[in-house]
């Protein structure tokens, strides 16, 4: 607690001892969990507009009670919830992003009757046993969990923010900057209306920093900041043999085999260790010693990773897991030609297709990478076309590839040395004793990346929920210790002046 006390004198405008705050937060757990239960009870699959409106109505009430001006932003899809506390011109502005929609539920796969009816549980001898709801009034075990759709992803964090605001108020703690809140209604369906909303509501959304509270903390369970995520694009490659599948007896050794052509083409793109050999693919990416140190500091458990994948050795794009995520990937996500297994037929197939996804980093623009891949395919002697080749093309070129490009989502990555990033680091370090994990960029792609890029604002993810929360799956859950963590993180963030 030494550290918090030191920092407190520097940052807090009202003084609450670390110990007192801890007690306050413990005291707030019961009502926070109760509100999560109430909020989760409103179904939130965004294909049901009416449910989205019911959620917005509930949120409007909650934020209004806490002094927010609220509105709904109409979009090409479902409306977004927007709220802001009274603005003061001479202060920086932080935009908080969360989402209140949830993944669809298949109740038959859940251990509880109703995925929207939150259940409190504790683990005993490896089994999750229900804890009576009224037990929340007594001593609360930090290892209890609440189960229900969106408790973790992402309704829980919204309620944590609301209750952190209540604690600030009861401590007469002013928020030393302007606060805006945008709550997404279609995150689980790709947040499609979001980037356009930026154009429409530019002034409303303008901010100096965006804080995203979604997703779990690092698997180690340590406090975590995530500064970016990879983007994605896709490309399908199809090679061609005879115009119709042919008898492999009559034409094996004569009709060109599209599967072999595809294999040879793909093989030319990577070395045996999984590194892309296409010229320029990794251009612009330089991991200097500082970055390497930051990446190496992430407490990834390599043994656990390998055990999870059941592999001996990972690919060697980077020297460790975090390094591998700093590079764009080129992943064969699917292969198809003719038939295999019981359906296999003795044919020379007419075509073969590889479905590829490419995870992007800020240095690797999706269009640039696809151009490199296309040029590489041409350098391998293929004629490249965008559609199924015509008869004329088939008899003109020996090797043909149909190159179908998918759309792409850009990566985002906020400079870890940005002063707002440093501020957030200080806040987290001041509030938590455990080592803070800095994820320079995460491997996956979040749907809000285009929104972030459109806003052109530094954005940092502050995850709060437990890593084993069964996000998107049956039995989604939220650990009580992580509710406490979230209340504390929000309190710290909302009470600390931005330097």
């Amino acid at each position: 607690m030494k550290r918090l006390l030191l920092v407190s004198t520097l940052f807090l405008t009202a003084m609450v001892s670390a110990q007192d705050l801890d007690e306050q937060i413990k005291g707030a757990l019961s009502s926070t969990v109760q509100d999560i239960k109430t909020f989760v009870a409103i179904p939130n699959n965004s294909i049901n507009s009416v449910d989205i409106y019911r959620n917005i109505s509930w949120l409007t009430n909650q934020f209004k009670q806490r002094g927010f001006n609220t509105t709904t932003l109409s979009t090409s899809g479902e409306p977004l919830f927007f709220g802001s506390l009274p603005m003061e011109d001479d202060r920086p502005t932080v935009l908080f992003y969360m989402h209140f929609d949830g993944q669809p539920v298949d109740a038959s796969k859940w251990s509880q009757e109703d995925p929207y009816g939150v259940v409190l549980k504790e683990q005993k001898e490896g089994q999750w046993k229900t804890v009576p709801w009224e037990n929340l009034k007594g001593d609360i075990d930090m290892e209890w969990r609440i189960f229900g759709r969106s408790v973790s992803d992402d309704k829980g964090p919204i309620i944590m923010m609301l209750h952190a605001l209540d604690l600030l108020k009861s401590n007469k703690q002013k928020i030393p900057y302007n606060v805006k809140v945008i709550l997404d209604s279609e995150e689980e369906r790709g947040s499609k209306p979001l980037p356009d909303a930026v154009k429409q509501y530019k002034d409303l959304l303008e901010a100096d920093l965006m804080i995203i509270t979604d997703g779990p903390v690092h698997p180690s369970g340590q406090p975590t900041l995530v500064y970016g995520c990879r983007g994605i694009t896709t490309v399908n490659l199809t090679t061609y043999g005879p115009i119709k599948p042919q008898h492999s007896g009559h034409f094996g050794n004569y009709a060109p085999n599209p599967g072999m052509q595809l294999a040879q083409l793909l093989a030319s793109m990577k070395d045996a260790q999984g590194r892309v050999t296409i010229k320029g693919y990794y251009d612009g990416i330089e991991l200097n010693d500082d970055i390497k140190t930051i990446l190496a500091a992430v407490p990834d458990d390599k043994g656990q990773l390998l055990a999870r994948l059941a592999i001996k050795t990972p690919e060697k794009v980077g020297d460790n897991y975090q390094e591998s995520l700093q590079f764009p990937s080129l992943n064969v996500r699917g292969l198809s030609s003719g038939w295999v297994g019981a359906q296999a037929r003795t044919i020379v197939p007419d075509k073969a297709t590889a479905a590829i996804d490419m995870r992007l980093v800020p240095e690797s623009d999706g269009d640039r990478l696809k151009k490199l891949v296309k040029a590489h395919i041409e350098s391998q002697g293929f004629y490249v076309t965008q559609k199924e080749p015509s008869l004329e093309e088939r008899i003109t070129y020996d090797k043909i590839v149909t190159f179908e490009e998918g759309s792409f989502t850009k990566a985002f990555r906020t400079d870890m040395n940005h002063r707002h990033a440093q501020w957030l680091t200080k806040v987290m370090n001041a509030n938590f004793d455990e080592e803070l994990v800095h994820i320079r960029i995460m491997g996956g792609t979040v749907p809000i990346a285009p929104f972030i890029n459109a806003l052109n604002v530094p954005a940092i993810i502050v995850p709060m929920v437990n890593p084993d929360n069964n996000q998107h799956s049956p039995d989604e859950n939220l650990r009580i210790a992580n509710v406490k963590y979230g209340l504390k993180a929000f309190y710290g963030i909302l009470s600390t002046p931005i330097e």
Copy 2:
């Protein structure tokens, strides 16, 4: 006709002028076609035992009328029909093989109501028009065709043989060797009982030469002898990534990709022109100048072949189509990993499979080739196992292949210089003016190859039906000119002493 007259004086025991024989054959067309119609009317899908018995009963009657001793040979499946003319010890014996079972029919896809009700047709302005059946009594157009299941494959040839026997009898022409006939009842389902029948009925089936009358003549329409066919074996190769499909964002660049591993493995097996680069794969195959001359003499229409396949250039295993068939193939008949198209998911798949078929030639024993492929895979750094790898194996080896072997059917190839082959060549040359096409080995695999190999007898295919007969498909047909051709070929073969 000059040639026939010359040969006649050498070979025929009774003298019929070529012109007279031609008239006799023309005269026999109507009754031959009538008998094909009668025979085809008995359905012959071998999954219906009763139909097989009805066919055998009809055949027994027909062969008995022509002086044959007949019997049915019981097998593990449907019985075989066997017949022989009275044997004389001091003469060579020829065993004729044909089959009377047929492919299943889907009447809805035929142009006629009943695939077993033979229809006579002629082509007018690109359309097939029905010709009244009674027109067979008048002048018969050689371009008419009869349509029905098995008219070509393979009931027609059986009737041609029967009517050639009738012509021999009416000309008092003795057959100068012993004749045995085996008629298969399960050819279209792979002739599975046949090889074992050789063990059981060895003495009965013993012969100096086997003549197989099945399949079409060369696409040029010229008289054809086929001396062999390739065998086949299969192997499935499966490579492994993470034990379960993983999120391609979180694990792209870290979890090994099984599709890329498979591509690199396959690519290492062939060069860009389709030639197998696995050491020893083509060992033992030498195409000397004599063989190359024979292969080059086959009047394949390369332009037509390329147009049919819609390709610019064939693979370069041989210098021409026939040469390519002298080598074993290594054909990727199927590829599968993850998903492609609308089902594509952003995953690193858990495995990738290639289904491979290998057409065999006499020089390339299937077991030997599979051993070479396996050794090659090992030389590429893979651990090879016969089944799905265990967890222990997954974490012990970086690259694993499951190598699943299919059964194999050997190739057969009769020496074109064998004296019986030379005899058959002389017979065909004596009876037909058109250049005889010698197919050293055909690309496909015939189900009777194991039977031939078990009998250990020189075997030659003497195809008689038109190449465009729609074998195995709706609207199977037989050209009248090919009925005439068959009668003449059988007459020549059955009347010429074996040298």
